[in-house]
Symmetry: D2
């Protein structure tokens, strides 16, 4: 695949390092940056044949088969619309828009143009995520009741993130987009998100946007998708997911505790600090950052999907749903109550209302709980189906 990269900053470099590694066959041809100096340097660093500061020119190059949008949030729409106009396949970094309106316009543009469009939600492509999702879809956790996705670190590295106008918000838009989509996958993308309750505050930094937020997304089947996002965390990058189902539990640690522990006094001759947070004492590096964050797996799915004429796992529609949920989160943080998720284009399952399962113990009782006793008998806690009275009894197992 011949690729044009829009953007030359941190994320563009991360993408390029991923694509030009491990003997992958896809190649970046050209790069666009608003700043021609940056474009030139990026092209030199990655051995690209061309670069420029005119976005349309780069996109319209006939050799380009796919365009990656790795620009600040406020420039996504313009870039995606230009790709659609040029009938080029487009992969857009997360979040799709600064809000659902933007995301909707992008979605409509690519669908109208009939071009391939992929949503670069890398954390829904990590190996741990994909494997646990497969187990969950196979039923090993039963019905999903609750998920928690957490991303927290000491704050992003570029100025525009901290500027609400450009980014669309603070930690909610920057990190919450990951967390919400992770939960949607675990709960089931076909299950409609109904309403959101969110707390957000600016606890530490001198900015207008929130640097810490907790949100609960309620789905039509009663499941809750919790997100925890922060730019105030100390200790590194905390990426953890949890899933609770009626038959099981999943705990994922994506970064700080992955089986790699190191202590150093820091006296080593040539030691170079790996993280600003600390360069001595106990450190928890990850082996291959790009892989642990899902980048290579994500691009493989994207380009395979293009070649196979199928949708990728993460689509612009997903990006739109995520933005709609985050819109409700921002509203709730202000209104201090649950806010409805406004989705005028819902493509999932119809209104199967929340159903409860009740396990009958016998004709007269529901079973609340059964517990084995050391003597081999079992203790049951029962509820009378008619009177509602609760009682316990000891029975042969």
């Amino acid at each position: 695949m011949n690729i044009a990269m829009l953007g030359s900053g941190f994320i563009a470099r991360f993408y390029a390092n991923t694509l030009h590694a491990q003997r992958r066959k896809d190649r970046i041809l050209s790069v666009y940056s608003r700043n021609i100096v940056n474009a030139k340097k990026f092209a030199a660093d990655f051995g690209l044949s061309s670069y420029g500061s005119e976005m349309e020119k780069i996109i319209q190059d006939p050799a380009v088969e796919a365009v990656i949008v790795a620009l600040p949030n406020h420039l996504h729409e313009e870039a995606v619309l230009a790709c659609a106009a040029a009938k080029k396949a487009v992969l857009c970094t997360k979040p799709l828009g600064r809000n659902a309106r933007e995301a909707k316009r992008m979605l409509e543009a690519v669908e109208k143009a009939g071009v391939f469009a992929g949503y670069l939600e890398d954390l829904c492509y990590t190996s741990k995520f994909l494997k646990s999702l497969a187990s969950i879809k196979a039923g090993s956790l039963g019905k999903i009741l609750w998920t928690k996705s957490r991303e927290a670190h000491p704050g992003p590295h570029s100025d525009w993130f901290w500027d609400k106008e450009k980014s669309g918000g603070g930690a909610i838009i920057d990190l919450g987009c990951h967390c919400v989509e992770i939960s949607r996958n675990f709960i089931g993308k076909g299950v409609r998100p109904m309403e959101v309750m969110c707390w957000a505050d600016t606890q530490v930094h001198p900015i207008d946007a929130e640097d810490h937020a907790i949100g609960l997304v309620k789905y039509e089947n009663g499941a809750i998708g919790q997100f925890e996002v922060s730019w105030t965390f100390r200790g590194g990058m905390d990426l953890r997911d949890e899933v609770m189902g009626t038959e099981g539990t999943v705990w994922l640690n994506g970064f700080l505790r992955t089986g790699f522990e190191m202590f150093t006094t820091g006296k080593g001759a040539n030691y170079i600090a790996e993280k600003a947070e600390s360069d001595s004492g106990w450190l928890f590096p990850v082996g291959d950052e790009a892989h642990e964050l899902g980048y290579p797996q994500m691009f493989s799915d994207m380009f395979d999907a293009m070649e196979q004429g199928r949708e990728p796992l993460e689509t612009f529609y997903d990006g739109y749903v995520v933005n709609a949920i985050l819109d409700a989160a921002f509203l709730s943080a202000k209104s201090k109550k649950w806010e409805t998720v406004m989705l005028d284009d819902w493509r999932g399952e119809g209104s199967g209302s929340e159903e409860k399962s009740r396990v009958s113990y016998d004709e007269k009782y529901y079973l609340i709980k059964k517990e084995l006793l050391p003597n081999g008998e079992a203790k049951v806690i029962l509820k009378d189906k008619v009177s509602g009275e609760i009682k316990q009894a000891t029975v042969k197992n």
Copy 2:
């Protein structure tokens, strides 16, 4: 100390096992149970000199110096009032009341009677909790921004827990009381809890009470105390706490991951299952359950406090504040908005309103973030104090 035990069920036995172990000098003299058969068996099992089914008689025995209330929630008030009437020191299991009104009446009764009263909140006495609290009080985490306390398991073992009338609620009252008090300690007991947002649902069991809930408690200084409680968790008993401060982080795992891991095929000749959830495969026992849950440390503090004429770490007033917070949580779960914590007896700090700290970079700018670069320079993200504009710059470190 000569002790009378009110109650003969699971928690009473746990307390008795703790007290009559490790060569402790305090002794249980007598036991009360509504059911004389249970009282007799308890007395025999623990070598007590007397037992009975008349509560007042047991309490009023002149040899008794302290009474432990280990009864179902709906019987706490009656027992505490009887102790106050008899001028006996009283230690009451958690939660103090089914609601703040009950708790307030108990608080007033013991204060009016002038008797020693301790709130048996064991999870605020675990060794990990006490040591991390000491570090936090010494400033090692800076200002506390957020705490999370989580207790989740597959559900309690006695019928009355499942009966809302008797217990006062479901997982919120049973488990939330622990979590709320843990967070209060970390944030500071003198900081006033202002309002609560809570989601609660009955996701799995055929009961009226909630079997799963998430709550956020907002404190006057802007800190958030999050609680996560569930009777729907699969995998054992999940007890975890987290604290985020401006200068650090604490993660505690109280039960499922404490450095004790065991795999067994289950083929071993005489193996006896330790947990109903699983008795083969990977298991995570705890060494000394009572110690890991804080019981011995709690009773040491209680009786030391009595002898030293000081308050214990956990008082009836704490129990009352916890109940008031949980009352707001129940309200919020219904109203779907933040609800005020109603505390007509607040003994903490006055209304120091939420203050933000802003770090100046120089006369013109606030510092948003500073990050070391590999080349030894530093990248700073700054905010203009007047215009609010955000920019980044590279500087010598």
Copy 3:
């Protein structure tokens, strides 16, 4: 129990802190130290009624029921012999002797005098150790094949440890005594240790004794007890045990990873360093050090045993066996071959030679391995009972 403490250094203080805590009923009455100033200070700190620098006087005090020997290794024998002469119960810290000859003389002295004698091997009393030992004895791991006990840290805190004459050796005698006795318990104290292979070196410190060693102890039933000891470890105190059996595995982490994780920038106002190795970054405190190291459980067993007229879990005979094993380890480190454990007083099981279990698959074959295949069939690896030929086959499960 009324106790006399011999010694006033680090370990004596640790013992005293343990005994005079958690409302325990045993009391230290008096303390002996070679240095009267230290004795006086110790007595003041722990509220003792008497102190002195004449050992016999302290021991012979009629009020004293039990003597704790908490002196440097080269003074154990003298102290134990004095207790035996005075017919006083004696508890001796680890290692019992500097070698098996010393240990044997101490063992004979207390047995001849008929006094109670306990070996203060605290790490065989931790809650994790006791619970896993109970599981193993109940058969949950099948036959024990291998154990590994590891103790490593940056080196001891007092000068005499580093002086081979006084201590009897380096890391092997200081730390190996724990590891060897842990393994003996898991494998079975009745199983005879036969021979030892040991590597030892002085890798870092300017001392004569070894600061790092690895040893393998072979038992009569074929099990191996591995010890890993070091004074060169960086990162804290590493206490880990592992057990492999035919039906399972146990992994214990006693100190550095117990479910307590903390990150601090070190900027906190009043923060006091907890470990010399690091006071910022990620730290791993333990909740209650004495409990995690087994001290309170150990003293409970000792005094309970005295009162009940039974032997404690750890006896002078155990100390003697440990010394004999360590003697062989020192020999092997020099001879560079396996050395026999010289036990002229073996009280365990007779010479049941090493037996192997062979599982028959059918009349013709032994079963080497059976593995489930994804299609529900099973793959078996078989060995012809006569020809010895190995083959694989796929069978219905």
Copy 4:
């Protein structure tokens, strides 16, 4: 790169799955198997253009640029010699030979033929390994004193592994080859391995080869490389490495504890067991097995090296050194003493004899240890440079 695969079993499939994934540009063209049915099936499964049961034919195909030897151990030499004869680049799976003589002949053949030769030691290519190795080479652990590499599981899946004639040994040859090479890398490939002490036994299975072994490899600079290998482990595949240096520590867990934890009751509708050892309770899957085991990174290095005309990270010479070390291990297991590593072709550093570093405290004393005290002073343990006497002192810090 156009590749011929020799072998169609478990490891050949693992390699093929790795190569034909993640949009890699290298392709397998053809496959050889002794059994034509297996060859045909393999070709069909991976979309290969040709297959056959005549090894030379497959190797000599002019379209083939590189040959991968994925055959049982006893067939490596024949295959490698055929590649050398055909002047084809050859990548050989681990271990290189069944012993050093075989390995030496293979090494000489490829060197004489002047063909590219790579040693497929995947565990020296995992991301955790490569990153920790880079840190160690940069000095963050100081001088390496000891390494431990452990591989243990319930036994291999094919019959030939269990047949000593075909495999060259049991767990030592199968798993020890990984562990030894991991340690060599950490200690430094230029440091000569001098002698080996090894215990080995057949504890569980009805086979002639060892199913459990522990070995210590002593290097010229005094460092020890420990290996622990077993086919008797219960609980999954245990892959752990540890490194101790004068300035730090590294702990790697490659498989069983990587931040992916899952509990399932096993009741889930379509659940398919992932590991034979257990399919319910707590499970510890890995995200992407091939990546966690180093396969993709290994092939990238191999083919990049071929194209760049450089040596790969793991060469046939490395395979030869590993075999020489394992030969000494087998000898030692029988002789019960340390055995010299016989390397008649040593290409590393010359005989820099083991040097010790001594830290002077002042003119009179060496410093043994310095420890900060709570009062801000420091305690030093010193050794008189002349008399050797050891003493402690308290000094201002």
